[in-house]
């Protein structure tokens, strides 16, 4: 898109520590001034990376994960791409989050904190691209 500028990309691999690395990379590249936006980014990235490791790579290590951060006129966009097992449709989270059941809240949380969330299966093969958009707050 013409109205967005790539701030940076990193290649990570599924495995221990990948969620922490991804959170740190996203925050480091985005350089957000609004701490509330930064907290939402941190949580959403952590949930998506966790899902990729658990479900797309099914717990296997060393699966590549590309994290890209773009600056947009209205905020930032984070793209996270993997080459694991893709879902045919956008993942469905727990509908009623107040149920006392562990698990299943990751996507619900992502949708809660991101202004936009898209899941795009790779049309050419394995994996998917997940896109997060976080709009800047009015005070920034």
């Amino acid at each position: 898109m013409s109205d967005q500028t790539l701030l940076g990309q990193v290649l990570l691999h599924s495995g221990p520590g990948v969620a922490a690395r991804a959170r740190a990379c996203a925050l480091g590249l985005a350089q957000l001034e609004d701490s509330s936006v930064a907290e939402r980014v941190e949580l959403a990235v952590s949930e998506i990376i966790q899902n990729i490791w658990r479900h797309a790579y099914q717990g296997r290590n060393r699966g590549p994960i590309k994290l890209s951060v773009y600056d947009r006129s209205d905020g930032i966009e984070i793209q996270i791409e993997d080459r694991g097992v893709a879902l045919s449709n956008e993942p469905v989270g727990r509908e009623n989050s107040a149920e006392l059941l562990p698990g299943g809240r990751g996507i619900m949380l992502v949708r809660s904190v991101a202004n936009q969330y898209e899941y795009r299966p790779n049309p050419q093969g394995a994996g998917a691209l997940q896109v997060l958009v976080f709009e800047r707050g009015l005070t920034t």
Binding site: Q9, V10, L11, L12, H13, P16, G17, A19, A20, R21, R23, A24, C25, L27, G28, L29, Q31, L32, E33, S35, A38, E39, E42, L43, S46, E47, I49, Q50, W53, R54, R62, G63, P64, K66, E81, D82, R83, S97, A98, L100, L101, P102, G103, R105, G106, M108, L109, S112, V113, G127
Partner: protein
């Protein structure tokens, strides 16, 4: 008391889960101090949810004490706050001495001249029968309750009280919803948890962070041909 601190994500939730479940096996009431938790995602949250499930099943009590702002926000986002017992207490509060409870004591003292000349001996009534059968007439009740005016034996009527439609304990047995913040052990005063300092988070320097290895982008055995590896 379980002291939780730092990050709870996919990397370390298992140890947290094990500690919570072990504590619930041994203790009837388990407090988890979450004031030092700097980050938690759904992995850590699932530990708390499972622990609450176990506690409810086994008749135990799980109390989340002083959740940090990150934990509080996560519970709110998940619509789970109402299910947990959340306790907010000032951790290092010194117990106040007697008479220093933080509010004005009632301005009443025994033997104080309260402006009346009523002699307690004048209030001795000769009432036959079971005291439980007696009640103050509704119309006269306000006067009867006043210490000065109109206290005469004839303001009492000997009518049987109407059967109570509800148990007298009902009004005192109300249970606060779990979402209500519950006070800690008396007499520690309740104070809101100080918001964590978020200012430093946005200043992450990738070069200075030992947790980030940007050199791992080399070719992989399983993914050599993948364009994703060529940034």
């Amino acid at each position: 008391m379980i002291q939780a601190s730092g990050v709870y994500d996919i990397d370390n939730y298992e140890a947290f889960r094990t500690e919570l479940l072990a504590a619930l096996k041994e203790q009837g009431r388990v407090r988890v101090d979450l004031s030092a938790v700097t980050f938690m995602d759904s992995s850590g949250l699932s530990c708390l949810v499972e622990a609450l499930q176990v506690a409810q099943r086994d008749g135990r009590e799980l109390i989340l004490q002083n959740p940090s702002s990150k934990v509080t926000e996560l519970l709110d986002l998940s619509a789970l706050s109402a299910l947990f017992t959340i306790e907010v207490v000032k951790v290092n509060a010194a117990a106040p001495a007697a008479g220093e409870l933080g509010f004005d004591e009632p301005d009443v003292s025994v033997g104080e001249d309260w402006g009346g000349d009523l002699d307690l001996d004048d209030l001795s009534f000769d009432l036959d029968g079971d005291l439980n059968d007696w009640q103050i007439g509704e119309a006269d009740a306000p006067a009867a309750l006043h210490p000065m005016d109109g206290i005469e034996p004839d303001i009492l009527s000997a009518s049987k009280p109407e059967p109570q439609s509800s148990s007298p304990t009902e009004s005192t047995s109300a249970v606060l919803p779990k979402s209500d913040v519950q006070r800690g052990d008396f007499p520690a005063p309740v104070t809101p948890v100080t918001a964590t300092d978020r200012s430093s988070k946005n200043n992450l320097n990738l070069q200075e962070s030992p947790a980030i290895d940007l050199s791992e982008g080399g070719p992989l055995e399983d993914y050599d041909d993948d364009p994703l590896n060529r940034l």
